[in-house]
């Protein structure tokens, strides 16, 4: 699998100029969000316990974890499309497990910009100490597992529903909901963010752990990551049993 990842990375870097332009474009895109939050809290002060520094930390975790998933395992958000377009056929003929192969097969330079931005934002605004950095790294990795697994699960719904927009909608929903302070939501919405669309575990929970480490909350994050990871594997494997190919031979 490391070979597949190396090949995908080499493909992404093949056009050096475009690669760095795309990385820079995403970093600038992220800076705009930082400007938004700075302007927002400049007017508002604090909101339900959230202030500028707390939101910037949340954003650092989100861009690091999100950049990792959408940059290094870029096919995570394309699983549904690969299923409906026959894009997984080529992977099925190889002597490797199809899901890890598909995930490692494509590196997206644009989203690597997110990853780089997240690291930079944490270094600048996250108050990095050895302890905080360790929690940030582990938290971002766990967030990446939750996000990647969720995307695989909603993408795999295409095994059952055929062409489906659920993957697209799921992707946009979880990214959007992760990028806001979770405490602005209440009632059922908040419950959904901790369960069905686990946006809280993609950014807010890891960010809270960096500021106030709580072993129980850390255990909850790791448990959720493991559960969603196993869920993604199970849903994809079960779906694959129903897969009958689209009779289009493509390169995964």
């Amino acid at each position: 699998m490391p070979t597949v990842l190396r090949t995908a990375a080499a493909e992404a870097r093949a056009n050096q100029g475009a690669f760095w332009t795309q990385v820079a474009a995403m970093a600038i895109n992220d800076i705009v969000w930082v400007i938004f939050w700075v302007l927002f809290f400049h007017r508002v002060g604090t909101l339900r316990g959230w202030d500028r520094s707390r939101v910037l930390l949340l954003f650092a975790v989100l861009t690091t974890g999100g950049g990792l998933v959408l940059g290094v395992t870029a096919n995570a958000r394309r699983i549904g499309q690969l299923i409906t377009d026959g894009g997984i056929d080529a992977a099925l003929a190889l002597p490797v497990s199809p899901l890890p192969y598909l995930l490692a097969r494509r590196v997206d330079a644009v989203n690597l910009g997110d990853f780089v931005f997240g690291l930079g934002l944490f270094a600048l605004a996250g108050g990095p100490t050895p302890e905080r950095t360790l929690v940030y790294v582990i938290g971002s990795l766990a967030a990446a597992v939750v996000l990647g697994s969720f995307l695989v699960i909603v993408g795999s719904l295409s095994f059952l529903a055929g062409r489906s927009e659920a993957g697209d909608l799921g992707f946009h929903a979880i990214i959007l909901l992760s990028s806001y302070p979770v405490d602005i939501f209440g009632g059922v919405t908040k419950l959904v963010l901790y369960t069905a669309v686990p946006a809280a575990f993609v950014a807010a929970v890891p960010a809270r752990l960096v500021n106030h480490f709580d072993p129980l909350l850390a255990l909850a994050l790791l448990t959720v990551a493991a559960t969603f990871g196993m869920g993604a594997w199970t849903v994809f494997t079960l779906g694959l049993r129903r897969y009958t190919s689209s009779a289009i031979w493509t390169r995964a």
Binding site: A25, M26, I28, F36, R43, L176
Partner: protein, 260 residues
């Protein structure tokens, strides 16, 4: 009398969009989520801030955000990338054979594709805003917001084509859509009313065309009866359409397509 080509393109694109409800449903679902989250954020902030921020009450913020989001959600966010790809790949060369302006046809076609989405967003947004904040703060101003939204989409499309026309020279306009989109988000007032910006940035944003793409209709929908905003939008539409035509005109003269 024959129908003008751009009108045919507009109508047929609108019909195609209506016949394929899948993407329409996704856009609508995404719009509902994005607008609700952002409106909730500003509503809570205004409430916690004594009921208003920069002169906008909680209810006004809600109507503002549902409208500004509708203006942007109606469009394909990656239009610059798609148009740029068509130029860079030479696909646009075929369109030169038609007895009509390439950019005019493209803008008309995209406008046709966007209008069903826009009206679906307006209907959904009006229902959601009423449910969370009550009726529109000033119905007359809210009615003016409807033509203003159509103008906002037209301005946005014209500007996107002017931006994408850069592909005639640089060949790769892919990354520029990120930057363009963010200009609309902040300087266009999609994420917040321009009054939230610091004074100098507010003045700058007010002088740029992005304000015609989200701020103008949202300002109207939030209860500010400023009909002159429609005049400003019309002026920007003329400027942006002229710029897009000039960029495409110059680009078409230097277009070289290899192969067949």
């Amino acid at each position: 009398m024959r129908e003008p080509w751009p009108l045919v393109a507009l109508r047929s694109s609108a019909m195609r969009a209506l016949r394929d409800p899948g993407p329409l449903a996704v856009s609508l679902g995404f719009y509902a989520i994005v607008a609700t989250v952002l409106a909730t954020l500003w509503r809570i902030a205004a409430t916690a801030h004594g009921g208003a921020i920069v002169g906008y009450s909680s209810a006004q913020f809600v109507w503002y955000i549902y409208t500004s989001e509708a203006a942007v959600s109606a469009l394909n966010p990656r239009q610059i990338e798609l148009t740029g790809d068509d130029i860079a790949s030479g696909a646009v060369a075929v369109e030169l054979l038609r007895p009509a302006s390439v950019v005019g046809m493209r803008i008309a076609s995209e406008l046709g594709r966007s209008l069903p989405r826009l009206f679906a967003c307006i209907a959904t947004g009006a229902v959601l805003a009423t449910l969370s904040a009550g009726a529109a703060p000033r119905p007359a101003a809210a009615l003016l917001a409807v033509p203003s939204l159509v103008l906002a989409v037209a301005c946005n499309l014209a500007a996107q084509h002017a931006f994408a026309g850069a592909a005639f020279w640089i060949r790769d306009a892919r990354s520029t859509w990120f930057l363009y989109q963010k200009l609309v988000f902040i300087l266009g007032g999609m994420l917040m009313p321009l009054q939230v910006l610091p004074g100098w940035l507010h003045a700058l944003a007010g002088a740029l065309p992005f304000m015609a793409m989200a701020y103008a209709p949202a300002r109207l929908a939030s209860g500010h009866l400023d009909p002159q905003l429609l005049v400003v939008q019309l002026a920007w539409l003329a400027v942006l359409a002229g710029a897009a035509a000039a960029v495409f005109g110059a680009g078409e003269r230097r277009l070289q397509v290899v192969g067949g």
